[in-house]
């Protein structure tokens, strides 16, 4: 018996509940990864000495539509993709783009000072710079011969 008790109202997003049940079922039967649509937005993570740069493809999304939060070593990007149909009475020929709420969470290899985080969005590409605080930088240890 598995109890689904989360802080969310299960009826607010029934698909999320279904997804969660599916994940549970998949985990119970051999743990095969379900072949679902890739998560949105797709992220590329760049690592360097001075920190991490997260780059995401977010077509149609502006910085105002996004909520970026950093807590210790966890980065969360939330937002909503709004359909750009402004006219009423339209006939769809093709509907391939996806809309709705999205959220991604990423665990970073170090704690981040939220005040140092910079984000910019341009041409549907979101860039989040997460500098590594001085205290978190690796220290080179001098080895002395006795």
């Amino acid at each position: 018996m598995v109890l689904y008790r989360s802080g969310l109202d299960p009826w607010a997003d029934p698909l999320a509940t279904l997804q969660r049940i599916q994940n549970e079922v998949n985990r119970a039967f051999g743990g095969a990864r379900p072949r679902t649509a890739p998560e949105f937005p797709p992220l590329n993570v760049w690592r360097g000495e001075n920190g991490v740069i997260v780059v995401a493809e977010v077509p149609g999304v502006t910085l105002e539509d996004l909520e970026i939060t950093v807590h210790q070593n966890t980065l969360t990007v939330r937002g909503r993709r709004e359909p750009g149909v402004t006219e009423d009475r339209v006939t769809f020929h093709r509907r391939e783009r996806e809309f709705g709420a999205f959220a991604r969470t990423l665990t970073l290899p170090f704690n981040v000072d939220p005040d140092q985080v910079r984000a910019q969005a341009h041409a549907g590409i979101l860039t989040i710079e997460l500098p590594r605080p001085e205290a978190e930088k690796p220290k080179r240890i001098e080895i002395r011969t006795a």
Binding site: N44, N50, V55, E57, V58, P83, V85, A123, I125
Partner: protein, 131 residues
């Protein structure tokens, strides 16, 4: 041995190869019709307005976009979920389109094309004169 798989376009096989060694994607597209126009809305993240090319040859609408990739200097890619690339798609239109009225706008990586329909000529009554 040359590994062909990495240089091929991931979405279409019948297209000639590009000279640049980067993928050509078939971007997700919405097409809908209003009373007086056909609207095409296509996701092409990483494309600047001058990288888009839209042509309408007879009834075939071809859209290409050249994407810019973000590669921060001094950083190494440690986790990748997408590849930057170019975009190409072609559609055969069934409506009669007013070629001179086509408008294209690129905003936040989404291209929006407005293709106005040709208005049908108003019915004309021909008066018959008595001979």
């Amino acid at each position: 041995m040359i590994d062909q798989s990495s240089s091929q376009a991931p979405m279409s096989e019948d297209r000639p190869e590009t000279t640049r060694n980067r993928p050509v994607f078939s971007p997700p597209t919405d097409i809908y019709e209003t009373e007086d126009a056909l609207i095409v809305s296509m996701e092409m993240p990483g494309v600047e307005p001058d990288g888009v090319d839209v042509t309408l040859d007879k009834r075939v609408l071809t859209i290409t976009g050249v994407g810019q990739s973000v590669e921060p200097e001094g950083y190494a890619l440690s986790h990748a979920e997408y590849r930057a690339g170019d975009y190409e798609r072609a559609f055969t239109l069934s409506e009669n389109i007013d070629r001179d009225g086509i408008e294209a706008a690129l905003r936040d990586g989404v291209l929006r094309l407005t293709l106005p329909k040709v208005k049908p000529a108003p019915a004309k009554t021909i008066s018959v004169k008595a001979g």
